[in-house]
């Protein structure tokens, strides 16, 4: 296992460097970003000074290599628009997004399993039909639209949930202020409900259908028939025999799922005025704040790789048929 982890780490390094190269190229093909960082009355000479100071007068490969060497020393550089260390800014926005993603993730998994099982057990009935149709609907609503409708209906019309904003939980917790974190927690969750639902809808719908179909598949297998034939209670059959196998495909999805949820976060954070990393990076891209974008992308990629490594390890434990070399 340790050789596996070591190889995984090495591969991850290649992946992260590749990711930085992609975003570096993407942000540079639009041309010299200097003009975004000078005042509109700047003379050609002043512009030249700023260009030099920001290092944009160097050849591209030199710029990239110097970025890498700084990175190797743990220096992510200064954000060009905030003029603060990029890492501080990204780390400031990350906790809020992690809260949102975890919340959405829990909705997407915790509700999907019972719904999928119920649908599968009642195959062909009205219950199955309505769960299936709702699942399909959930997969066809754009999340920004879902967000605005949630705001107008549950936020403004019914006034059940706060319309926008965020109450920090992780930030005080990480700062060691457990009391504030715990006092905030109910409100953190309360503020997370609507953005969380908006982010989770698509995944929830997809996972429900995934659980349903893998459940159906498992229910038709011999060992389940055998269990039934042995006269075991239906509940025992479902929970102990069918489900433990049926939710394996869902576990496989977990790692990918997280990356997917982060994608939905950019739009949802804008709608709900949520101070997370999605909106931060969207703005940074628009401002061509290259160090900030790089820093955010590296952390997100590292996060993704870490999660998937963990998922693979867990999966190997859960399902002995799977060898770790599978995903070479």
């Amino acid at each position: 296992m340790w050789t596996y982890v070591a190889r995984r780490l090495l591969q991850s390094l290649v992946v992260v460097i590749g990711v930085t190269l992609i975003s570096f190229m993407a942000l540079q093909i639009g041309g010299d970003p200097t003009y975004l960082f000078v005042s509109e009355r700047a003379t050609a000479q002043e512009i030249e000074v700023v260009r030099h100071a920001l290092g944009f007068d160097r050849p591209l490969h030199v710029q990239y290599l110097s970025f890498l060497s700084d990175l190797a020393r743990g220096d992510f550089g200064q954000s060009l628009s905030y003029r603060q260390p990029a890492l501080d800014i990204v780390l400031g926005a990350l906790p809020a997004t992690i809260e949102l993603a975890v919340f959405a993730f829990v909705i997407a998994i915790a509700l999907a399993i019972p719904l999928g099982v119920i649908a599968a057990l009642n195959r062909g009935t009205a219950v199955d039909g309505s769960i299936t149709i709702l699942g399909l609907l959930g997969q066809s609503i754009p999340n920004f639209w879902m967000g605005i409708m949630l705001i107008l209906f549950f936020g403004l019309y019914l006034r059940w949930f706060p319309i926008s904003g965020h109450v920090p939980f992780l930030t005080p917790l990480l700062a060691g202020d457990v009391v504030t974190a715990m006092t905030n927690l109910p409100r953190t969750l309360y503020y997370l409900v609507m953005p969380g639902v908006a982010v989770a809808t698509y995944s929830l719908a997809r996972n429900t259908r995934l659980v349903r179909s893998s459940m159906l598949e498992v229910l038709g297998q011999d060992y389940v028939r055998t269990a039934r034939a042995k006269g075991l209670a239906e509940r025992t059959v479902v929970v102990h025999h069918a489900l433990r196998n049926a939710w394996l495909p869902v576990v496989t999805m977990i790692g990918l799922e997280f990356g997917f949820l982060l994608g939905g976060v950019v739009v949802t954070e804008t709608v709900f005025s949520y101070p997370g990393i999605g909106r931060l990076l969207f703005n940074a891209i628009n401002q061509r704040d290259i160090p900030l974008v790089q820093c955010g992308v590296i952390l997100l990629a590292a996060n993704f790789i870490l999660l998937n490594t963990i998922v693979d390890l867990v999966y190997a434990r859960l399902d002995p048929r799977v060898k770790l070399a599978r995903n070479r």
Partner: protein, 292 residues
């Protein structure tokens, strides 16, 4: 020939039996027809503005005496006409992106699976990079710099899809390359290209079709999200996603028709593709077939 006929009739019977796929097929046929003939069906030029009769409710006539059956939008453009034109662009973007992504993914997957070794390593690291990079950020980066355009959008959305196909094709190719019929083709001296595309590929088409039908749906949704962020197609080109995105400021003012009609169009189409995907999977997936 007879196997084809038998396959088709089996497909048809299962479709009729399941009912929903039949409905989905009808919807998709209708959408395709609209996409093909939209410009002739549309009552007016979808770009024609009339700002004095903007936000007209459905079934109302504007001062020029033209009835907006589905209302008019923020610039007084006819919603029905834009919906009909939008079918073409939305479908084109969806299908073209799948084609681009599928083509790259299939090629990468075949090469990785068949040759293994460093080819496989390179392909899989590229795939890892793609997966580790939140796609929406990648899309935003390229679209911000490249500017709006249908071509750019298709390219970016297509690139976002390739990994899914590459992984499946690679896995299938890995298992197929040692099979007898592939060995036979090799022994007969077929070129590598012929083995890859004529011997192996036809055997993986089934799962790919299923994945593709699900992906059209997610591509259409991603296009809508990008429109919401102000990226995607140019302002003058109607797509369902951009129409929905344009409705955002009028939702509070209850101009429901701006959101409901493109929303319904997206929903029905995405729904139909999903139902077709489900049905195709049941039909083509041999494991499921054995059970039935």
């Amino acid at each position: 020939m007879t196997t084809v006929t038998r396959g088709a009739s089996r497909a048809w019977r299962s479709m009729v039996a399941a009912r929903w796929p039949l409905l989905a097929l009808l919807i998709l046929l209708a959408v395709t027809t609209v996409a093909a003939f939209g410009p002739w069906l549309a009552p007016v030029d979808p770009g024609r503005q009339s700002i004095v009769s903007r936000l007209a409710a459905p079934m109302t006539a504007d001062p020029q005496g033209m009835t907006h059956w589905l209302g008019s939008d923020v610039l007084g453009r006819d919603v029905l006409s834009r919906l009909l034109y939008g079918a073409r662009v939305s479908l084109l973007v969806g299908l073209a992106a799948i084609t681009v992504g599928g083509a790259i993914g299939i090629l990468a997957g075949l090469l990785a699976g068949y040759f293994g070794g460093w080819v496989d390593d390179v392909m899989m690291r590229l795939a890892d990079m793609q997966l580790a990079f939140p796609f929406i950020l990648l899309a935003i980066m390229f679209l911000v710099v490249l500017g709006p355009g249908v071509g750019n959008l298709i390219l970016v959305l297509g690139i976002g899809q390739w990994v899914t196909y590459a992984r499946i094709v690679r896995a299938e190719t890995l298992s197929l390359r040692e099979k007898e019929f592939v060995e036979a083709a090799r022994a007969l001296g077929d070129s590598t290209a012929a083995i890859l595309f004529r011997t192996i590929l036809p055997n993986i088409v089934a799962p790919l079709t299923v994945i593709a039908s699900f992906n059209v749906a997610s591509v259409i949704l991603t296009e809508a999200a990008l429109s919401f962020l102000g990226l995607g197609v140019p302002a003058s080109v109607p797509t369902w996603g951009s129409m929905l995105a344009e409705s955002r400021d009028t939702l509070l003012a209850n101009k429901w028709w701006l959101a409901v009609f493109p929303g319904l169009a997206i929903m029905l189409t995405v729904l139909s593709f999903n139902i077709m995907g489900d049905w195709l999977r049941d039909l083509l997936d041999p494991r499921l077939r054995e059970r039935q």
